[in-house]
Symmetry: C2
Subunit: 361 residues, 2 copies
């Protein structure tokens, strides 16, 4: 099983941190749910059928010409990797936490740069995902759509003229699309302006969540905004609506940062430098504290209060300091205390590599 | 009025940090209370008499041969210096906080290196003080005694054959001596072994206090141990008793540090490096937090967990980060916030000067 270096490096395309509004938008994601016509949904699928679907996908990525058009993909059968590796895929946002726990013939195909992937036999037969850095929702949609078209050349999807694509969960019926952006919003959190903004999202058909999807807490001031409604709208409607709301949130975050910088620059500088001081020297650090301090540091970089540190350190460490990647570094299962030590070492190495921070004034 | 550089540098002899057990004993102090025979105690002294006493001291330090024997002294009349300068003398432990607030003709004579001084017209006519770095109680007593002898060549002190030296406050009657050591006891604090030790001090005639004397809290894990009893003992008894108890406390502190190092090295290393990280990067720091972190850092230096930082940075910053020295640096009265900024800058400068810390492993 060739799987490239997916399990050896924490970087993905989306952690590159390059693109429009990369100071606020960490990543853009589009996910399409698709099911094969006249085939039971995964939760009542026989093992035989599961294998059939997996084989269909394998055939497609091995089709002559596919690679030239879509790039190199790796096929990763879930029952052939261990729990640690599954967790790494979760931390890279390539599979869902639920999928990592599930049994049976399931798998994921992943493009070399990890921007494009398909979960096979999760809640739906296929979950096509495109995950790009920064504000690139439309590009993500174009790429996911392209993959969808390729699948449709071979497979016939369950589709209803009235309802659209049929999915295992009724909330996905219609476009089968979930589009989302992950935003770094320290300004809105610090100034408490965020509460009001987030509380109105439901009214305009959007949902706000923490970094690792439904039910997860917002850690490191990271928020995911996604569409709630998939029915009665076109894909372009969804992308345009989410884009327009996101641009407004970006605007408000910039205002909040400027306000904070104007009213509390001293306080902010202290906060940013303390974060740098601790991150570059601590010997033990919990995931929660690391995310908090990395968020402070990233804000300081974005506001030019600290120089000489690559802002993408933040994006990269978001993945590299998660559990599975630390366990891999520590060669297997470990006590939380040891994990906190390896996390601290990983952060120190990454942050001080570039000759440390320099003062702005 | 020549006053050397007493008000321009925070360093004193006692902040040098050199001498026996300097890793635990910050300073040793001996103070002798003396009053002129047949002269009312200071609280009922006329201005005329106050001036008379001040002049007597001035005459002595200007006597031919005095300088050769005892060194260069400066005479500082309290009514000719401002409140900030008085506070600086308090922070250097050259005068008491009460003395800084008092009115009338009062003054202090201070040896160039600040190891020897005499407060004039405080609670008693003279308070001879010798303040040395590290565990040098006996040397401090010898030097204070020498100064006492010189004064007695010219002045006749109030002395009772039965009681000994008579003093304004009855608790000082007898030897008129207060001997004390300032100890850095993070090990006894962290392991909570200190409570028991300190609580038994009263039973053996000793008192434990914070860094700035009676009623002051122990900040930065600094504790002052002094004799309670001045009557019915010789000066040598007092010095020997305090020395012997201090040596036991030093022993227990060393044990506590070793225990902590053995049982919680990881935790200790993290604590030390975080202290270094914050001290060398924070932009605002309160006096209390600074003392706490400086104590952590000092412990790390003493336990060789961090290298390349001069341990006396701690002693020096204990004075340099106090209010008056910061205000002087900031050119006058200032808001607490600004004071915290200047404190942080002072610490950063001092700590990172020597090329920062290096890892021990």
């Amino acid at each position: 099983m060739d799987r490239g270096d997916i399990f050896s490096r924490p970087d993905s395309k989306w952690t590159e941190g390059k693109g429009p509004d990369a100071d606020i938008v960490i990543s853009s994601r589009v996910r399409l749910a698709r099911n094969i016509k006249n085939m039971p949904f995964p939760y009542m699928l026989s093992e035989e059928k599961e294998q059939e679907i997996l084989n269909a996908i394998k055939d497609i990525i091995e089709t002559p010409g596919f690679r030239e058009k879509m790039g190199t993909f790796y096929y990763i059968p879930l029952n052939e990797i261990d729990q640690l590796e599954k967790q790494m895929l979760v931390e890279k946002h390539l599979i869902s936490p639920q999928f990592a726990q599930s049994k049976g013939y399931k798998g994921v195909i992943v493009r070399e740069d990890e921007s494009l992937s398909i979960m096979v036999n999760e809640e739906d037969h296929f979950r096509i995902q495109c995950l790009l850095p920064a504000m690139q929702l439309n590009d993500a949609w174009v790429l996911a759509n392209q993959m969808d078209d390729i699948l449709e050349q071979t497979l016939e999807f369950a589709f209803d003229k009235e309802k659209g694509y049929l999915t295992s969960c009724p909330t996905n019926v219609g476009t089968g699309m979930r589009a989302s952006v992950m935003l770094h919003l320290p300004g809105l959190v610090f100034t408490r302006m965020g509460y009001q903004i987030f509380s109105t999202m439901g009214q305009i058909g959007l949902t706000v969540r923490g970094m690792y999807g439904e039910g997860s807490e917002a850690s490191g001031n990271l928020f995911q905004i996604s569409n709630q409604v998939t029915l009665g709208l076109t894909e372009e409607d969804i992308i345009n609506h989410l884009t327009s709301v996101t641009l407004q949130v970006i605007d408000q975050e910039r205002n909040a940062r400027n306000l904070f910088l104007k009213e509390g620059k001293d306080q902010l500088e202290d906060r940013v430098w303390r974060a740098y001081g601790i991150l570059s020297h601590a010997r033990n650090i919990s995931s929660q504290e690391a995310m908090k301090l990395l968020s402070d540091l990233r804000l300081g970089i974005d506001l030019n209060l600290i120089q000489g540190i690559d802002p993408t350190v933040f994006n990269n460490l978001m993945v590299a300091t998660q559990m599975a990647f630390l366990q891999q570094k520590g060669k297997g299962e470990m006590q939380p205390h040891l994990r906190d030590q390896i996390r601290a070492a990983t952060i120190r190495e990454k942050i001080t590599k570039k000759n440390g921070g320099h003062e702005s004034c």
